[in-house]
Amino acid sequence: MNYGPLLFLAAFFALAGSWFGFVLTPQVQLGQLQQTNTVPAGATYPVARPGLGHQGLEVYRANGCASCHSQQVGQTGTVCDVVLTDAGTNPPALIQTLLQVRPGLSEAEAKTFLGGLPKPVLERVTKEAADAATKALTVGGAKPQVWIVPTGPDIARGWGKRRTVAEDFLFDYPVMLGSQRIGPDLADVGARLPDANWHLRHLYAPRLEVKDSTMPPYRFLFEKRRIERARSPDALPLPARLAPEAGYEIVPTPKAKALVAYVMSLRADAPLFVAPLTVAAPPPETNAVPAK
């Protein structure tokens, strides 16, 4: 039995199998992926990152940011909110239904509820319960809507509005999903922390912005310059203990600016067919930008 050709064929077919499975098939299934549209707005997704953001990807790659930061938001499921957007023309009937749909509600509360719509009637319920409530609430021209809300620890943490999907990385090279969470996930950091100056200060001195952070400072992405006529508008405002000596200022290099542009272009909030979510026109309280 122990002959060379047999051994060669055995190893050959084993590796060929895995090669077909995880090299060729992904090329066909993922490598042919095209742009898609957001649902229901129909906007093209994804669009290429802006030029500076694209350069920033190179800085992100060169400095191995993916060693500590993942870009993969996980999602464990989806729940529904029922949101009333319009009370319609028959408020008494609507109040009666409201009382049925939300048993804990008193009549007085229901009346005040109808002021200041849109408001969620039910939150975090199953699709079936949401559909039933919607059907019941459609009285006298009232307009209830079912909102899709992805759930999971990552989403509850504010790291993204929905799970990341293959489409999110369509135009990136290299794709750096990361394998460790020594630092927070960055898939949606552009939406979470939309202040470029915050990012610059954080890069220069992480513990200035996040107490106890273990992120190393990236001072080599900044430049110490003598102030010639006037302070540069780019100069970082730094507290006295970090500020350079008088007559000097710290300004970000083009690399730092590119990196920040890239980081701010990271978003995982486009509603897609494969990862549905309802994006509210005016953001409800739950979507507020979390404190740093």
Binding site: N2, G4, L30, G31, A62, Q72, L170, Q180, S213, Y218
Partner: protein, 491 residues
Amino acid sequence: MAEVSSTQSTATGAPSAGSVIASAEIDLSCRVPLLILFLSAAVWLLVGSALALVASIKFHSPDFLAEQAWLTYGRVRPAYLNSVLYGFCVQAGLGVALWVLARLGRTLLAQPWLVILGGVLWNLGVTIGVAEILAGNTTGFENLEMPSHAAVIIFLGYLLLGIAGVLTFHRRRGRELFASQWFLFAALFWFAWIYSTANLLLLTFPARGVAQAVLTWWYSDNLQVVWLSLAGLAAVFYFVPKLAGRELHSHYLALFTFWFLVMFASWSGIPGTAPVPAWMPTVSTIATAFLILPVIAVALNVYRTMGRLIVVASGNPALSFVLVGVTAFVIAGLMQAGLALLDARQILHFTWFTTARSQLQFYGFFSMVMFGAIYHILPQLMRTEFASAKLLRVHLWLALVGTVLMVVPWAVGGIVQGIELQDPKVVFINIMKGSLPFLRVSTIGDLLLLLGHAVFLCNLIGLVVRFYRARAAAAYAAVTADLFKAAEAKT
């Protein structure tokens, strides 16, 4: 004692072809090429562990060496992993593979110049690659960080080494194969396939979007789980019986291990969190769960081979290294398969637990087996004994304690981290702070490993120095003897 030859099932049925080649002749044909591979591997290991220590200290003080771009964590860590994986693991693995193939085939090493040239190219490629990573020219793909020009040199070097290996395998006397030969032959062509595929489809003709990530996972898994297991287990199945002076318990169990390893481990790389079609992580989880079978088979086979001898194995440092390696292989395998069986892969994916497992795989298992193998092979090549067996044992203890101090805190800290990441009420910065005490302990481990590798390199260099000193003394004696004779004749 050299040729107990209990390892070779072919030993009794003597090879048909020609005269038997003496072990000493085989060793002589391997001497210079393998010395180059082993010494460079030891140097890379030392470089790698110095980089690892720098990376580790940054968790104590993030400002440590933060002014230079090339010393930032995100560059130092991949540089460390590449030095250890390509500089040490694969290089030492190939060296050991060549020797085992020559010894088991009872043939001289084929084309030693190919090995020398291949080794030079390989080290040139790794040097360029690691320098480029530190300079910021990394590719951004995990385990494949070296840019394409370095990868091409490495691949050429590999081809030369691999061809020498296949030729040596081909020249074997006796058709029946020992288990190690299966493993090594598969390993030789496996690496060529995965390395070329990954580099072509990631760097030369890049795949689109997330297909890149799938490829990277596929490659990493095939390198760290399949290749290291094939090459490492080949050495285990060769050295355990040889050093213990016993027959391998079961040839069939070894073949079972081989089959399950190549069939299932090559499918186990896609993590559960990946933003890819759901069938991929599902297939990987199932394949990973099956890995428990080869792991148990290895444990059983080695345990049965050793029997009561396990207790007295500590007398031989080389054997101790190999047995420590087998233990680590089993633990790492159980960690990996256990996660799949408990459906906990997703929970622990982003944590230090994964790091612990991978450390156990390429260091606890593979590197330990390589230490044992090199400590056995090198004295045979040089026909010289180590100056002090005590220093070998110092290395063993440093490596063992260092590994435990790294792997245990990472694994425990990783589980804590994973559970806390599942609970959105725990603020992220607190999770990170919570893992710091574990990382601090692991730094001590890094330090011990660095010391251990210094001892390792000193041991190897010491042996070489002893060899050449003895040779010089002999040559001097011969020359002077002639002179004396001539002088005597004159008078």
